[in-house]
């Protein structure tokens, strides 16, 4: 059975950029442990040499021709933006 520690939850939350409230963090580790425990039943199956299915069906190649198609007017592009400056989407300072 997998053990989901608060530390694991913290790491996953960081990867997913989710800020968890203290009570959320505890609840999630409990719930995730239970859910993943259930998922663990897959390990009863021997899947050696079983190919993976990532897509429901495999069809023909569907491609587009290299043709320029008009996109959006800039006004529409920026219409929903929370913060715009000089026609760019502004984001707060980036700490590397």
């Amino acid at each position: 059975m997998p053990e989901i520690t608060d530390k694991t939850v913290e790491k996953i939350a960081r990867l997913a950029n989710l800020q968890l409230a203290p009570d959320e963090s505890g609840r999630f580790s409990e719930q995730l442990e239970k859910i993943l425990g259930y998922m663990h039943k897959l390990n009863q199956l021997d899947t050696t040499n079983v190919p993976q299915t990532a897509q429901a069906r495999q069809g023909r190649n569907i491609w587009r021709a290299d043709v320029v198609v008009p996109g959006l007017e800039r006004e529409a592009v920026l219409a929903e933006a929370p913060d715009v400056q000089d026609y760019g989407f502004r984001v707060p300072r980036i700490i590397e």
Binding site: T8, V9, K11, I12, A13, L15, A16, N17, L18, Q19, L20, A21, E24, F28, Q31, L32, K34, I35, L36, Y38, M39, H40, K41, L42, N43, L45, T47, V50, P51, Q52, T53, A54, Q55, A56, R57, G59, R60, I62, W63, R64, L72, A76, V77, A79, E80, A81, P82, D83, F89, V91, P92, R93, I94, I95
Partner: protein, 484 residues
């Protein structure tokens, strides 16, 4: 108006017995009087609907040709992008967002001259089986307003079941059309993966999502499927196979058809009343000329785990774009990472966060092989099960949901129990096969029970034929809930 099917409305409009505008006004009126009890709609587009209806009437007045759904009111699940009209996925993170483009299915129903009347409720980002995960409010089951509508296309099912609209579009990732259809006593179809374009459907799990119709009858559902199905240059997972005429052979019966009964779907966890209703339905179909055979789908018990690993992994990636940069909610913060974290913390509900966490975990270094990769392999085994089973039968019959509609709040504290309500529907998503849910009875409390049929790949015709045959021998689909 409420007693009329989509087909009848359309025919009356074409015959100029009623105007599209009158139909539209009646639908809007019904929404005003009824929706406060069932809460199906997130936003009603009164102006847009009337404009569309008037356009139909104008065409008819000028004797111009009209589309196959001319004048029929339709509700759209709020994860289908509507150009210039709010599309929220029932999430705070997208509240008020107006897409600058139209989903392909919305374009198609508009081109067919249907009249979209508004956007309907759902579990946030289609994650849920009860509509209780909507960030705004849950939708209520019209048969018992203390019970859930089912989900995630709860609003779509409720809008149709309570007679506000004859048609609705929903999306189905693990049963999200079929399960609410079953719980609300209507018809819902999840087409074969690739039959309907997903362009403009806000993704939950891209390899499982499929858009489909909800309606009072099989015939109405088929009419809507006919309009939305078919190749789209904007979705490369959508097939370029020709779309057959779905209504053509619907009446030709099922003599000689072999129906497979997977034993795994009739075992523990199945509500006895649901089981009894489905057993009865089997009998009806046998009497109509079908042959019943036992089939086995041995990996059924692994499908739920497989589904939740794949769906959440894809979701964790699909929902990463809600970061407060381009659109939707932004929480102000001093630096970028803090902004990301606060925006997503405030914008997403608990179930969405839980699934993002689960999916992120399943894909992360060190766990990928044990969880995500393993799930993709078991998905192959599940597909093989169905291929085997379809060597012995033409169609598979199961209950749609193990239970009838449950009470609101009953399962919200136990995610796993909630997940189990998808147990019979998810395999069709994992395999991409088409599935339909049709009403097949009521339990002792008067709550509807649904019957599921699963067909071979791209064989929606056989599903429709079988379902239509069943409906021609029963009247469950004609029952309506009583609403003030």
């Amino acid at each position: 108006m409420r007693e009329l099917s989509a087909k009848q409305i359309h025919e009356k409009i074409i015959a100029k017995e009623i105007t599209a505008t009158a139909v539209c006004e009646a639908a809007l009126q019904r929404i005003h009087s009824t929706d406060s009890q069932v809460k199906a709609f997130l936003a009603v587009d009164e102006q847009g609907a009337l404009a569309a209806a008037k356009a139909v009437d104008r065409k008819l007045a000028k004797n111009e040709p009209v589309g196959p759904l001319a004048g029929v009111p339709i509700a759209l699940k709020d994860n289908l992008c509507t150009k210039g009209f709010p599309t929220t996925c029932a999430s705070k993170i997208l509240a008020g967002w107006k897409p600058p483009y139209q989903a392909t299915v919305v374009e198609r129903v508009r081109a067919a001259d249907a009249v979209p009347v508004g956007k309907v409720n759902m579990d946030e980002f289609a994650m849920g089986s009860s509509c209780e995960n909507s960030a705004f409010f849950p939708s209520n089951n019209p048969w018992n307003q203390e019970c859930v509508s089912g989900g995630s296309s709860g609003g779509s099912a409720v809008a149709v079941a309570s007679g506000m609209v004859p048609l609705a579009l929903g999306s189905d990732t693990g049963g999200s059309i079929r399960q609410p259809a079953s719980l609300c006593g209507i018809v819902g179809i999840k087409p074969t993966y690739g039959r309907v374009s997903r362009y403009g459907l806000i993704a939950y799990a891209s390899s499982l999502d499929q858009i489909g119709p909800l309606a009072q009858s099989v015939e109405d559902a088929a009419m809507l499927l006919q309009v939305i199905a078919g190749c789209d240059q904007k979705d490369s997972t959508c097939t370029d196979m020709a779309v057959p005429n779905y209504t053509e052979q619907m009446q030709s019966g099922i003599k000689g058809l072999t129906i497979g009964l997977p034993q795994e779907y009739f075992s523990e966890g199945l509500d006895p009343e649901v089981k009894a209703a489905v057993e009865q339905a089997k009998q009806v179909l046998q009497d109509a000329g079908a042959r019943l055979v036992e089939v086995t789908l041995p990996h059924t018990e692994y499908s739920l785990a497989t589904y939740y690993l794949i769906a959440t992994a894809e979701a964790s990636s699909n929902l990463a774009r809600y970061d407060g940069v381009q659109y939707g909610l932004r929480a102000e913060a001093d630096n970028l990472i803090a902004m990301y974290k606060a925006t997503r913390a405030q914008g997403f509900g608990a179930e969405v966060k839980r699934r993002i966490m689960l999916g992120t975990y399943a894909l992360s270094a060190g766990y990928y092989d044990a969880y995500y990769k393993k799930a993709l392999q078991v998905r192959t085994l599940i597909q093989r099960d169905f291929t085997e089973a379809f060597n012995k039968c033409d169609i598979i019959l199961t209950p749609t949901s193990p239970t009838v509609a449950f009470r609101r709040g009953e399962k919200t504290e136990d995610p796993l129990a909630m997940y189990l309500s998808d147990i019979y529907t998810i395999s069709a998503n994992l395999t991409g096969l088409p599935g339909i849910s049709i009403p097949c009875g009521f339990n002792s409390e008067g709550l509807p029970i649904g019957l599921q049929l699963i067909g071979k790949v791209f064989d929606e015709q056989m599903l429709l034929r079988t379902a239509q045959t069943y409906q021609s021998h029963t009247d469950w689909h004609t029952k309506r809930p009583i609403l003030a």
